[in-house]
Point group: C2
Chain length 676, copies 2
């Protein structure tokens, strides 16, 4: 089974199952918000980071902001054009991972996969941190508690996703269009007030001066270039999420590729308008931010300003809507919501990618879908814990996290563009139709330009941010890459080791010896005895270990009185332990009869709460663990359901009913025949 | 089985097993160091805490130190006398827990048990913290990293105890006698130099003045009393560990009780000499400490002293052996070692107590010895983690930890003395021999005095330390008490629920349906098939879930080619999951035949490393977990041992060989017949 098939099966298969439940394929107007929330939300923090980085050159630095915005916009246009080629060439929705694997081999695919996994984690951390940053404009009490608030929000998102409450298109559509309306509306109103009405709009920070460790303030030669490169790298965060549509082609209405490409173009236009509009408005109103961690701060009339910094979005909203608080609240609320929504898309993307990787043997099988919804749950929990770790470690500072963020995005952009180049070259080698060849050559040129741009940006990002945190992202990717390689090698080795040979089929054990472990003479033990009796083994005995004399005597007397129909063997235990003597006894039977099977029946209590599990079945667990290493021995756990097990059954039923109501989470979809 | 029997079995049983391995009962000269390291080590920090607390009254406060030392010495004498009665009355070695349970009922026993468990944790935290404090005199680089160093030392102790390297008497004897020799020697040399030679010995801090928040400095009325009470409470830490001998009576040579009582008296004399000697020497040389956390600090010539504070022990050693560095090093090294040794005794005591409590159903059975050495391991790990948490939370500050420490000790002292009072009263009611009655009455008077003293100290400790941290200890005890109560109630309820009725024996299932789960057609699956065939069930089939079409087709074709002798059933799975459809299929068989047994054979890979376990058997685990809730279904795990399982088998063999070399750890003692 090759990668493309697998991906098709994962994505188309999921879609098919959903289709039966009445869901339809997405029209463009719904697909845009579904796939664009991540890409659009980044304009909430990219301008801040451009301006904040430039503050290192003092007030004079800010004049470069619009130039940087234009360069970012140009790169974004190129990337959007490049991905339109991908959408046409790979309508299966595999995205960068598929492009890299098919064209450049598994190592390239794995490189992209590592970059994407790291990126999903950073998307959650950065988006939620930025959401909290913006939320402070509405809820000032959050100031000083950013890390813990961001962590709580991530855990809430995790909880929602674990419960399987998956958003429909509408849930995405309202806040995404709301955000577009709010930001573009704010830009238009601002421009009208400045240029048409002629009001001199001034942001709250317009009159502030910038002082401190502005070590770039000479603004000459290499220092200037390095600073501009850093500002540009931070601004490139605006490009994150652009590739999302290329993963979602199968979800579009026919003609899928064409609709996806159009939506991608639309996304590009909207994102570029928002980014340049915000930067322009910031320049016009004098809105600015400073990098406090780098020792730069605001002064007003020579006195240091100690208030916490508002985001550019909050400053602009306050300035443009200065007489209209509802407008301000609307902009901030929409910004907050789209940022949390962007984080949420990673909660969908990460488990899907890790399940694809698990299916190919690069991650533990526990993350693949074969194990039902639990697989997705594992992915969701992993993602949430990693993101919580990041926001706590970096105290939800967008400025700190963004240093790690952009590397991964551009690694996968670059590798993917290289893959596309190979794709067209490969197809050109066999294609004869001149019209198609022309078209392919054109596409190849576009992807070559894309590769040049993304590759250059990657080098700039690496050079300008390496020591500021990018090395951490690179390190994480390298570790992931190596771990996935090792996992894959392990699975292949196990597959070789367990490969069937014809002789395995013919070797039948000659006899079955059944042994029932009795530690207490109660209902669970007696159920194990009756079940063992029903199995008609060649030999059958109950065994108890004499760990406590009185207790053993009790059991023997009761056994004789009850007469359960099989002999009770008592094993001596000089050190009053149960597991060791029992395991040795079973090993003795097994090694005396190497061609036979020893079937060990172990009674187990089935309980309904996690804490009850700490209180029971420890001996049984130990015995099962030890006997697993003995060839020819099978342990059969005979469950005895305590009344409290009802709670666990009810939980499963409730969960499955919820899955039925919220399809598409990979859960069991039948509410019937549950419990017992 | 009553408490006394259980305790006897635990302690005498352990001893018996050890005796077979050539160990002998302890003579007094070995018993003293074995049981006294905890009690003696506390003189390393008790004087510091007395002096440090008095610093709150400024320089004038220190004059009270010798008076407090005398009161502590008197209380210690009374407690030692009281415990001599316990040793005679309860030679089984159950200690305070037994005395309280037998005489005052299970709730009193549980109160003592909670107090002791909390105390063991604090013994580790306080002893190691004090060890680090003293170690700084030899290794100054430790300053500023106390918390993490203490945590590492605790983890090292945990590791040693997990490996089962249990100390023999000699390991205790050398450092304990060394410590006694070092401290008493230092006191004698110091006194000789001062009074015989007439040298004016002055500690490094002798010339320092004490300033700061000395809010008690009025030294009048209530404030003075409160301060003295606090200093006394901290000094009472010297009494911790005195009760240890009463737990160890069965380990003494005959006449056990008499020898134990003599050893206890010896311990009292040594501890009192050391405590009063150190305080006297500190007064004579002007050695002092200040409570920096309370805002009190040293000045010299009006300038604040910023060096880190040396312990009283380090100051005295440096002063007395000022021309003889080897003497200084010896004192500090012995102090350090005995403190770590004292912590180590808790690593023996905590698991034993928790296993006794687990045996009585107050703690999870996983902590009782029936599960072999793993039970002790659980106790050791629990203790270490709790102590690490404490030293990190309090940054290994002895002064902060000591606020929590003494409460638990005096709770168990007081309850135990009350129990002894009851004990004598009960025996006096039936005793007729006038000589014995006289003896009993005398004992009762001693215990009544003991109760008065320990009760008074408890009240003083509670009143003077409650807000400084004692409330935390009380809270921890209360939580432990309630949790143990709840666990006990749960076990009783389960016992009622699973109690056998005669009808359970007669109900035989009529038929057995065997089902083998096949997810891949490999050696493990085929082993499960052949084992299932050997079991001669009434019906037998292999089942595979069609989660992936190609894969399922492969399996079907291979199955037909191999012809393993049983039919292969293919279950549809519209959502490409395995667990749900399989479990529903089994439920279907089971509910269609409620009087039958369904035996589900699940192939499992047995691996040798923990990380391999993350990579395998997830489907099997999920299926077993889900099927446990279905009545009439047994899941039999058919293990397939991968080559790497060898590592795990080797580990077990090595561990068991180590246990053979270091007997007494509760492990399996047979090195033969291991592995397979």
């Amino acid at each position: 089974m090759n990668v493309t098939d697998a991906l098709k099966r994962v994505l188309v298969g999921r879609k098919l199952a959903s289709a039966q439940l009445g869901e339809t394929l997405l029209p463009k107007r719904i697909a845009l918000p579904v796939f664009a929330s991540d890409a659009l939300s980044s304009v909430a923090y990219a301008p801040d980071e451009i301006i904040l980085t430039l503050s290192l050159a003092g007030v004079a630095g800010f004049v470069f902001s619009w130039q940087i915005a234009i360069v970012v916009a140009v790169v974004m246009a190129v990337v959007v054009l490049s991905y339109r080629q991908t959408v046409h060439a790979y309508p299966s929705g595999g995205g960068d991972f598929e492009v890299a694997t098919v064209n450049l081999g598994p190592n390239a695919g794995l490189t992209v996969a590592s970059a994407l996994l790291v990126d999903y984690i950073l998307t959650v951390a950065v988006s939620v941190s930025s959401g909290v940053q913006n939320a402070k404009a509405l809820f000032p009490f959050m100031v000083g508690h950013e890390g813990i608030i961001a962590a709580v929000i991530i855990l809430i998102l995790m909880g929602l996703n674990l419960r399987g409450a998956r958003e429909s298109g509408t849930v995405f559509a309202i806040p995404t269009y709301g955000f577009m309306f709010a930001v573009l509306g704010m830009i238009v109103v601002g421009m009208v007030r400045i240029f048409v009405v002629g009001e001199p709009l001034a942001a709250p920070t317009a009159g502030f001066d910038v002082v401190g460790d502005t070590y770039y303030s000479q603004l000459t030669g290499f220092a200037l270039i390095a600073l501009l490169a850093r500002a540009f790298s931070s601004g490139s965060a605006a490009l994150t999420g652009v590739e999302a549509i290329s993963n979602g082609v199968p979800a579009f209405k026919e003609p899928k590729s064409r609709n996806a490409a159009t939506t991608l173009a639309l996304l590009g236009v909207v994102a570029i308008s928002m980014l340049t509009g915000i930067i322009a408005l910031a320049n016009l109103t004098g809105a600015k931010m400073v990098d406090e961690h780098a020792g730069v701060y605001f002064t007003q009339g020579g006195v240091r300003v100690t208030d916490h910094q508002e985001t550019i979005m909050a400053q602009l909203a306050a300035t443009v809507f200065d007489g209209f608080p509802l407008g301000f609240i609307f902009v901030i609320a929409m910004t907050m919501i789209i940022l949390f929504l962007a984080a949420n898309t990673a909660f969908n993307g990460f488990p899907v990618l890790s399940s694809i990787l698990a299916r190919h043997g690069f991650l533990p099988k526990a993350l693949s879908t074969r194990g039902d919804r639990l697989a997705y749950s594992n992915g969701i929990i992993l993602l949430a814990l990693a993101a919580v770790g990041l926001v706590l470690a970096f105290n939800a500072s967008v400025t700190a996290l963004i240093q790690l963020y952009v590397v991964g995005v551009f690694v996968s952009f670059t590798v993917s563009q290289l893959g596309m180049l190979r794709h067209w070259t490969r197809h050109l080698a066999t294609e004869v139709d001149p019209a198609k060849r022309r078209h392919m050559k054109r596409s190849r040129v576009i992807n070559a330009i894309g590769l040049t741009f993304t590759g250059t940006v990657l080098i700039i990002v690496l050079a300008s941010k390496f020591i500021y945190g990018a090395y951490l992202a690179i390190l994480a990717m390298a570790v992931l890459f190596v771990v996935m390689k090792l996992i894959s090698r392990h699975y292949q080795q196990v597959e070789r080791e367990t490969a069937l040979s014809p002789s395995d089929v013919r070797l039948l054990p000659s006899r079955v010896h059944a042994v029932v472990l009795v530690t207490d003479l109660d209902k669970p033990a007696m159920r194990a005895v009756t079940f063992a009796r029903a199995s008609r083994a060649n030999s059958l005995e109950a065994v108890t270990v004499a760990a406590e004399d009185d207790h053993t005597k009790d059991i023997r007397q009761q056994w004789e009185a009850l007469d359960p129909g099989i002999p009770l063997k008592i094993i001596a235990s000089p050190y009053r332990e149960v597991v060791g003597p029992f395991v040795r006894y079973i090993k003795g039977i097994s090694s005396g009869n190497p061609r036979d099977v020893v079937m060990v029946y172990v009674p187990e209590l089935v309980v309904g709460h996690w804490w009850e599990r700490l209180l029971h079945n420890q001996t049984s667990l130990l015995i099962k663990a030890r006997l697993a290493f003995v060839r020819g021995v099978i342990t059969a756990a005979v469950p005895y359901q305590l009344a409290s097990s009802r709670y666990a059954i009810d939980r499963v039923v409730r969960r499955e009913r919820a899955a039925w109501r919220h399809p598409g989470t990979g859960t069991v979809h039948s509410g019937s025949n549950q419990g017992e």
